[in-house]
Amino acid sequence: MTRTLKLRIWRGDDKTGGLQDVTVEANHGEVVLDIIHRVQATQMGDLAVRWNCKAGKCGSCSMEINGKPRLACMTQVASYPEDEVITITPLRAFPVIKDLVTDVSFNYKKAMEIPTVSMPEGVKPGEPRMQQIDVERSQEFRKCIECFLCQDTCHVIRDHEENKKSFAGPRFFIRIAELDMHPLDTLRNRKKTAQEEHGLGMCNITKCCTEVCPEHIRITDNAIIPMKERVVDEKYDPLRWLGSKIRKREGIL
């Protein structure tokens, strides 16, 4: 069972570019990435596209399909009506390199700004013991495949290039949450730095990151909002602030 698909594929580089019309055959059960490969094989030999696993697990094939950030390998052609023209563009929050390939190095820079887990002194590798119920919250965040669709859709940087320097983005808020909820982590300033250095306060919890995450990680509800509440504990709650001062003072006396 085949159908004829009408596509518009964005082609170009960081200077110029535009949407090009293509007509191509599609077989039953195919995904958008299959179609892109057919276009590449038959009509546009030099079409640049990044992909790897074709199983929704490597996070390479992130692009925008009819304006929505998606994994091309997980997007069924059949989910679009017969007469719909499918528009395929690169991610629009990052600089484009060529055609459908963007430069996502912003995300690697942000990743490096977050200190990794810091184990209690004297605990050697292989020694830590943690209970399941203490780590299960963080396990949800470990499902992340680093497709950066959440980063791409987040309006804080998508719509405001100038915020990139001060905003880590949803993918890294789940990383910070994971570490702040880690039962053995000894670094105590994660809440403070989340707010002051990684831009947690810029997020206005409008949940687009959650909407596009292919791993269905509930980024906003389970990581960002809990982190915002933890930041309030530390920075904005006068009662808790007072409590901590009194505790500290009693410690001195």
């Binding site: 950030p69 629009r92 209970q131 998508r158 405001h160 915020n163 509440e229």
Partner: protein, 291 residues
């Protein structure tokens, strides 16, 4: 000095002008280096529908609630009191409507009696305004920041919740505590509605059910709140050391999943409960007693 000739100045002016134009037109998805696409969004679905519905329902509620708060009448019909007017704390309250006595004298603003609803409005209003779910709802539908996912927002600058006034959103937990007090009061109102209009106990009317349903929805709304989730256990690092709080957190997390639904149901519930009490108070309908 020699460089400040007319051509040099023109050159500087041109550069500045080009720079400012670039600054205005080249932000966000139109920034330099990003794929050159002229559309704000390429979404083909009806992305504007959801914000439009949210906007309309919220506006309708605000309109109705404002009218009712200023009406200063038809909020009490023994034993029923409208949730907009409970607790009724002013000397202006109609006899029998004050559960906690009178804290405020009657005073007039521009010749109008200050409605008792206005003394307490700030609490439920503040609770909902700072609610994590409603924040999403109104940031999207009123402020269009963003109107929908991957649809460019119409603002040149954005600082999120880092500055005044939006930094005040961090006070949500205090409104949550106040909300709990209101829940207790409105539940009391519902229990008091197990009386008849002669204040005799052991009766039950449609109005009793209306107030009970309203209080129940409000409890679900509060219990599913993100701050509630954080308070009962979310802030812990080691669940294994706090088994009871872990259980509570698990339960609240389940409710929290539906917080958005409870937010809407309880909002509409409050409005409908008020409509019912108003209809009874104006004698448009009779509060029917089961027994």
């Amino acid at each position: 000095m020699a460089d400040f000739t007319v051509p040099a100045l023109t050159r500087i002016w041109r550069t500045l002008d080009k720079g400012s134009r670039l600054l205005l037109m080249a932000t966000g998805v139109f920034s330099q280096g990003r794929a050159k696409i002229t559309e704000r969004t390429l979404r083909t679905d009806k992305w504007w529908l959801q914000p439009l519905i949210t906007f309309s329902v919220l506006i309708a509620f605000i309109f109705y609630a404002t009218l009712r708060a200023f009406e200063n009448a038809n909020y009490f019909a023994e034993p029923l009191i409208s949730p907009f007017y409970s607790p009724c704390l002013s000397d202006a309250c109609v006899p029998g409507s004050s559960l906690l006595g009178h804290l405020f004298p009657i005073f007039h603003v521009w010749g109008m009696t200050f409605s008792p609803a206005l003394f307490i409005l700030i609490f439920p209003l503040g609770f909902r305004m700072t609610c994590y779910y409603y924040r999403k709802a109104y940031y999207r539908s009123f402020w269009m920041s963003p109107p929908a996912c991957a649809v460019a927002e119409p603002h040149a600058k954005y600082t999120g919740e880092t500055r005044a006034p939006l930094i005040m959103q961090n006070m949500h937990r205090y409104f949550f505590y106040a909300g709990l007090v209101f829940n207790v009061l409105l539940t009391t109102d519902a229990i008091l509605a197990f009386r008849n209009s002669e204040k005799q106990w052991g009766h039950m009317s449609v109005g009793t059910l209306v107030l009970l349903a309203n209080a129940t929805f409000l409890w679900f709304y509060s219990l599913s709140c993100h701050t509630c989730r954080h308070t009962v256990g979310g802030r812990l690092r080691n669940f294994s050391k706090h088994p009871i709080r872990y259980k509570a957190w698990t339960l609240v997390s389940k409710l929290n999943h539906y917080h958005q639904n409870f937010a809407w149901v309880s909002l509409i519930g409050v409005a409908l409960a008020d409509v019912y009490v108003r209809e009874v108070a104006t004698h448009a309908i009779t509060n029917w007693y089961f027994f």
